[in-house]
């Protein structure tokens, strides 16, 4: 190992960290999305769910610590990969030809940065409740808070666009995880690509349904 293996971890090592942290985040978004769908069951259902979460601080903080560590690891390796890969390409050819790299694979750093921006806004919005709620206090009334938040079209549209980019990110990322962990071959590549795309859309449409329902007045 080189003297400074912590600043320059092995290429495959970084990929494995990226894949495992991405997997944690991808699992989280499924759970988060499912919980959010309680919005359609009415105010009592989602408010009770939120109260239940807050009544179990050990579990909540356990999950938060894992998510924070995964996010930091994912961004750290993502930045390293992106910078090293730019340098390794040495500018690339004057004529750029692409045979099979997908749009989602080529936009991973960009979709990632949008998701990060979204994440910061989202936490300030609904976790710390310091932006875009007009200084209103909601306490345990999560349902009312979400409706108030998405009643502003600009906020709802930003959420919808971010979720479409999350779909893009996942449709390459999920299939990529299998390759990185060595669990993919020619036979399974197409199937896993389809699974990844389906998963991306499932997550995105699940999340999007809520701001969309508020915008259309189905939830009020």
């Amino acid at each position: 190992m080189s003297a400074c293996s912590c600043c320059r971890p092995a290429s495959i090592g970084k990929k494995i960290v990226m894949a495992l942290s991405g997997l944690v985040l991808a699992g989280f978004v499924l759970g988060h999305m499912s919980g959010n769908l309680l919005m359609f069951k009415g105010a009592d259902a989602i408010n009770a769910y939120a109260a239940w979460l807050h009544a179990h601080p050990g579990m909540l903080w356990g999950a938060r610590v894992v998510l924070i560590l995964s996010t930091v690891a994912h961004i750290w390796t993502g930045v390293l990969l992106t910078l090293e890969n730019r340098a390794a390409r040495a500018g690339g050819p004057a004529v750029e030809a692409t045979r099979r790299a997908t749009l989602s694979s080529r936009t991973m750093p960009y979709s990632g940065v949008v998701i990060l921006t979204f994440l910061v806004f989202h936490l300030l919005h609904y976790t710390f409740r310091t932006v875009a709620l007009g200084g209103q206090e909601f306490g345990d009334k999560v349902y009312e808070m979400v409706v108030a938040g998405f009643s502003q079209p600009a906020v709802a549209v930003f959420y919808i666009i971010s979720m479409i980019l999350l779909c893009l990110h996942l449709s390459h990322g999920i299939s990529s995880v299998f390759q990185t962990l060595g669990l993919r071959n020619e036979r399974w590549r197409g199937r896993l690509d389809a699974v990844a795309t389906a998963y991306g859309w499932l997550i995105a449409l699940g999340f999007i349904s809520i701001p969309l329902a508020v915008l259309l007045g189905c939830i009020k």
């Binding site: 190992m1 080189s2 320059r8 092995a10 290429s11 495959i12 090592g13 970084k14 990929k15 494995i16 990969l81 090293e84 890969n85 340098a87 390794a88 390409r89 040495a90 500018g91 690339g92 050819p93 004057a94 004529v95 750029e96 030809a97 692409t98 045979r99 099979r100 790299a101 997908t102 694979s105 080529r106 991973m108 390459h172 299939s175 990529s176 299998f178 390759q179 990185t180 962990l181 060595g182 669990l183 993919r184 071959n185 020619e186 590549r189």
Partner: protein, 274 residues
């Protein structure tokens, strides 16, 4: 007959007039494209023969020729290396530049010819790049250590046919570097994956399996190649159609080797312990 007669040469063969934009670079300079017109190129000529024609024309004009790598000219040595219209080894999948024929181009076409572009493959001159980074990777573990002497009885080491086939598929890699040149990350994972697989799945490769995997990946990283992000461009441009399977298996073998290294036997009990 269609009227294509003005494009026939003295042997009655169809010919092309081409506009070429070819990369010119000498050591220590940043390089630039040079434009040349080349007429009467037979469609049966290989791409390298077309480049020979261009160089002959340049010699007659008293100009400097273009340097490019080539050797066998039959698709087995891996020396030829040109990015043609953005595609390493040109537009025809599964062939090397030397096996690419001019019938794959149109009359009057403008063709851009560049060297492999990657930090780990510095340009020597014009279209020739230094691929010794690949040699270093091979030196780090692309071999098996055996006492060479009289050959052993072939049936001493039994290898099931599917395993032999898989090893042979991986061994098809000719080390040309098109995977690196086509990769948007300048990654050498297809090459290293092919070389590691070829040995790691055979019985003869087992004793050095972990050491080989770790050493070759480390050498690959140190040479300045990028990290794979699963674009799949390498497979689409590899003249030997090596698949991403070798990269998945390389990832798996690397993980396995790291785990085995981490939990390797420490030998004697530690002092003070029991």
């Amino acid at each position: 007959m269609v009227k294509e007669h003005d494009n026939l040469d003295s042997h009655g063969e169809q010919t092309l007039s081409l506009r070429l934009r070819v990369w010119r670079q000498s050591r220590g300079t940043t390089g630039h494209f040079e434009d040349h017109a080349l007429a009467a190129v037979p469609t049966s000529a290989s791409f390298l023969e077309m480049m020979d024609m261009l160089n002959e024309q340049l010699i007659k004009e008293g100009k400097d020729t273009f340097a490019f790598d080539h050797d066998c000219r039959e698709g087995i040595c891996g020396m030829c290396s040109m990015t043609i219209n953005g595609m390493p080894h040109g537009p025809l999948p599964g062939v090397t530049t030397c096996q690419l024929h001019m019938r794959n181009f149109r009359d009057g076409e403008m063709i851009t010819v560049e060297p492999w572009r990657a930090k780990a493959f510095p340009v020597i001159k014009d279209l020739a790049v230094n691929r010794s980074a690949f040699d270093k990777v091979i030196q780090a573990g692309g071999f098996i250590t055996v006492r060479t002497g009289s050959a052993t009885e072939a049936n001493n080491t039994l290898i099931p046919k599917p395993v032999a086939d898989e090893a042979m598929d991986a061994a098809e890699c000719i080390g040309c570097g098109a995977c690196v040149a086509s990769c948007k990350n300048g990654s050498a994972m297809l090459f290293v994956g092919a070389k590691i697989n070829h040995l790691n799945i055979l019985p003869q490769g087992q004793p050095e399996r972990e050491r080989r995997t770790l050493a070759m990946v480390k050498t690959m990283d140190d040479a300045g190649f990028g990290n794979c992000t699963n674009y799949g461009e390498c497979q689409a441009h590899c003249p030997k159609s090596i698949t991403l399977d070798v990269i998945a298996k390389l990832n798996r073998d690397y993980l396995r080797a790291r785990v085995k290294e981490f939990f390797s036997s420490t030998g004697k009990p530690r002092k003070g312990g029991d």
